[in-house]
Symmetry: C2
Amino acid sequence: MQSRARAGRPRDAAIDRAVLDAVSQVLDTGGYQALVIEDVARRAGVSKPAVYRRWAGRRDLALAELRRRLEAVQPPDTRCTLCDLHESLSLFSQAFTRVGATTLAHLLADSAHDPDFRDELIGTLVSPQREAVSRTLVKARARGDLRSDLDLALTVDALSSLVFYRQLFGPDPLDDAEIGRAVAAILSGIATDYDALVRESLEHEGDHVVPDHAHPG
Amino acid sequence: MQSRARAGRPRDAAIDRAVLDAVSQVLDTGGYQALVIEDVARRAGVSKPAVYRRWAGRRDLALAELRRRLEAVQPPDTRCTLCDLHESLSLFSQAFTRVGATTLAHLLADSAHDPDFRDELIGTLVSPQREAVSRTLVKARARGDLRSDLDLALTVDALSSLVFYRQLFGPDPLDDAEIGRAVAAILSGIATDYDALVRESLEHEGDHVVPDHAHPG
DNA sequence: TACGCTCCGATACGGTACGTTCCGTTATCT
DNA sequence: AGATAACGGAACGTACCGTATCGGAGCGTA
């Protein structure tokens, strides 16, 4: 008694592929807006109920296709922190070029009032890429290349957000040269004399929050 | 001969206000998804054509309301770079809390295949906030607080993107303490010895792009 | 072999929201 | 006075949603 095998006629796996291929084609030509179930079904040579039998709607359908496009990201590990970070971010950016900023925005919008789908979306598209960056940072810190008081989560956010921002708000995604400059900037800092700035800020009785990890050096 | 005054019955300015008030109410309760023209018209005590006579559709309607909410941002200027940057980013984040991440995502998605609307959207919601941050950075650099070889545009991107990212991808928007840590990190850098990292990366014959503004110090 | 289950394509359906058009009426400008 | 355009109300055609129904086909179990 195979509990896995449901009774009755099994689903045709070829239909799954044909539909996702059609979705891919539509996304690349007309974008998410053009993703109309009936149209997808027609292109795939498949009936509409056959699609709904497999996916709940446009959102699920699009996410399923995007999941196909994002293979697991292999974070580099060359013991060269600059190289690894650069490579991580480059892969990150390339991944979202494949996904398409438009589609990402639509899925994000559609997930607004559906926490479950939002978790699935972020868990599929965002988290793996972030994780790759995070692992790179962890290794670099373990080597002693990064400050020990580093706020890891916030640094991952800072690097990841730059990739997303440029994809979503353009005009262009980050190119390699910009990634290099960004990595350099966040590693070396942009202040001429950070400690002096901290001292000066303390003289202001301002109500701003004093950074809780002032430069140790 | 007033060329400005069109012949015929003039538009009732009270309708403009009533409609935008209704839009505001709907956006705050049900979000962009709940923004249905017929519903807005009913709430405003107005006919549907009266709405379409003024705005092209949901997108324009929502953007018009959001424009009402974002007054001009006054970048602080206290000659304290840490304080000013902190304040700039805090105002930035607050502005988008008023707009609502959901609505922003929807508008961004809807603007995908309409470059004109996209320009209007970014010009209204994004550019002014960025500009405030940019002015703060420019003043700090002029004071000599920031490195002279600073890539201004990229730095603005880095700081702005963090605000957007946390608003859009959450789970929570940036809080004040995180803003402080982020400012500290980007000003002071996260590397223990950046110059050493650059030297090491040069030993790799890797094909990665060598940062074109290595640390001058 | 017979039966039951589930998938298959085809088609029809009700529902929602869009954006437009027509109407008779009302307000303002020339 | 007359032209013009906004007003509310209502209906319209379109698009797409997601679901239901149908006869038929494929596969499991009795």
